[in-house]
Symmetry: C2
Subunit: 142 residues, 2 copies
DNA sequence: GAATACCCGATATTTTTTGTCAAGTTTAGA
DNA sequence: TCTAAACTTGACAAAAAATATCGGGTATTC
């Protein structure tokens, strides 16, 4: 189980946008310079962030990205959901090779474990605000 | 983010072994019959469970698997760790394409988020005991 | 109109997960 | 002792997901 680079990169992008946005739109190439991540890949991630309305874009020369909502209202959960889809997917909902799946019974004790886990993960990540992350130091990738 | 079938299947296997073990060693084919999972794949998972000493095997005709430790002492975390390796891997510890990695600084606020999340996940899964799961109903795969 | 920079669908590569195979060893029981 | 049941193990194959790249497009500034 792990956070994928999509979520990680998306978070780094939006933190950079939140940090530098006040000085004007933040371009992808600026993010690439500061964070050292693959440009074409970030483009896709930023598109997802925009489509989920967390950021907005300014096209044309001197364009870039800006937050679309107050930084205080964005949580890590919001960003991960935008970049990765559901934060924690229940394995019970996935189809296996031959179309088999967990029988949908609602009183399965294993499913309860996964549901509780999902709940705990989402509660925690929903409690971490970008605003708080901005205050403290963050590493670079080298 | 999700639990893989490895963890899911391993848990189903060990629950079956815990449930039927008292009547003698539980063979893979018995597990396959009851749970409807791929035999050759389970073989690998059971090997991992044995190597991590959660179960033991009885070879030869009428052989199979038995728990190697009291059922009360096994948690979901134990089983997942045996089957999947680390339950939650910090992305900060993974290498990227060109050998890049998070600079190992210990005061990175993002890394703190992931560490807290890891901690919460492991604490919860470490609190769920097989013994308790056995008491309640569990679904079948169809 | 030239340069900057986002838009977006398609495709390619790599890694991980999932599943399969085959040849071997051990043991119970006839 | 012979045979069938059942675990052991490493290697291999297939499928899915994650990661990355490309190319032609559009909008905006200067
Ligand atoms: S519903 Fe998925 S394991 Fe029971
Ligand atoms: S150490 Fe990984 S994001 Fe900072």
């Amino acid at each position: 189980m792990r956070i994928t680079t999509q979520g990680d990169y998306a978070l780094k992008c939006i933190l950079r946008i939140a940090a530098d946005g006040p000085q004007g739109p933040v371009s992808i190439s600026r993010i690439v310079d500061k964070e050292g991540l693959p440009l074409d890949y970030l483009e896709q991630l930023l598109l997802k962030l925009r489509r989920s309305r967390l950021i907005k874009s300014v096209r044309g020369a001197r364009g870039g990205y800006l937050l679309n909502v107050p930084v205080a209202s964005i949580t890590v959960a919001h960003v991960l959901r935008a970049a990765e889809g559901e934060i924690f997917e229940l394995i019970c909902d996935r189809k296996k090779k031959d179309g088999k799946k967990c029988k949908g019974s609602e009183d399965c004790v294993l499913k309860d474990v996964w549901k509780n886990l999902k709940n705990k993960i989402e509660t925690y990540l929903g409690s971490v605000k970008l605003k708080d992350l901005l205050k403290k130091t963050r590493c670079t990738v080298t």
